[in-house]
Symmetry: C3
Subunit: 150 residues, 3 copies
């Protein structure tokens, strides 16, 4: 669990602006992922980002490795004829004193076999640390947990 | 795919206002749909709106035809004892120079048979073009794709 | 159904601030619920709050009773090895003249058995009346309906 210290430097209007920016960020991020735009998706992470998931023995680090992981999954889905759809939401955001934002969210992954029945594939929780670089938000760290592997 | 040219005429506060308005629009729109309020739902489209789905041979055009299509589905669900629930989200919005807004989103449809197990019925993507008329947002075009029919 | 009279005292910016605050409120509220933080979750209700669900013969009233109900469910899920995940969304908000806010929303509950397949557990609709006390939003009444029990 990432340490979090909530600060309240935000007015109601400022908080709303940040909340909308974060929702838009995740929406475009997941649309990129699901359409197989691996490099554009990886560009949403910092150069030295770290991504931890329970199914990998060590965190994935850096944009190239992240994009490669996405391409492998996209190839596997293409081979099996399944469309995966990542749905992020339930964003609990914690702005930090250093300007970063800790985001606790849920992600459901749906799977749809071609010509078959869509289903829930995974239910995950996600803790990201977002930082601002060059005016835009980027993911510095991501920790994903799967409900079925608790 | 609808052509999209992103513009940035929005301040962070203006973007947040638009993003909230769009979320509220889709929420009320889908509550109307799921409660069978066909005419009120159809009033969220422009008079000459076009709605394309993969299961119809031609786009549905105009509010009367849209409302009729909803009533047919509502009747079928009532006959089968299933409650459908349309869940829109993951809104990736692209304000356009002409004042319209291209909205890429996902929609999951859940089905719940009376006394039975709820399930995922459909996973869809949706591309809308929203325009403002008389101060409120309306759908001018909607293109829906189903993940199981790709 | 809770009576609702829509008022429009909000500017676009003020509406966005309220909409973001409500989304953040529900996100943290459900994260508390799913992590078993029963007392913190119950503190999101007013002291005299009323919670109605179709599976209980009478409304649950008051924070202690609410927290106890959550603890019983958490114990049952721990015993069965299932992780439940409450996903609120599709918020249709109706600010009222007295400062309260009627919120119509959907909630999907996912269930993930340890080592098994995640699934949709429940699809619910939720009508809350939120009031502001001491600067923060609290739930005064909640009415939940289940799609499978209609």
């Amino acid at each position: 669990m990432t340490a979090q210290t909530e600060t309240q430097p935000y007015s109601a209007t400022g908080f709303a602006a940040l909340y909308a920016e974060i929702q838009q960020f995740y929406a475009r991020h997941m649309h990129l992922l699901d359409s197989g735009a691996a490099d554009e998706w990886a560009a949403d992470f910092t150069e030295d980002a770290s991504f931890s998931v329970p199914t990998l023995p060590a965190p994935v680090s850096g944009r190239d490795a992240l994009a490669s992981a996405v391409r492998r999954t996209a190839d596997a889905n293409a081979a099996s004829g399944e469309q995966h759809r990542h749905w992020p939401g339930v964003f609990d955001i914690w702005p930090q004193e250093d300007g970063s934002v800790v985001v606790h969210s849920y992600t459901t992954v749906y799977a749809s076999p071609r010509g078959g029945e869509s289903r829930v594939h995974r239910v995950c929780t996600c803790t990201d640390v977002l930082v601002r670089q060059g005016g835009r938000l980027l993911v510095r760290t991501r920790e994903v947990a799967r409900d079925d592997l608790r």
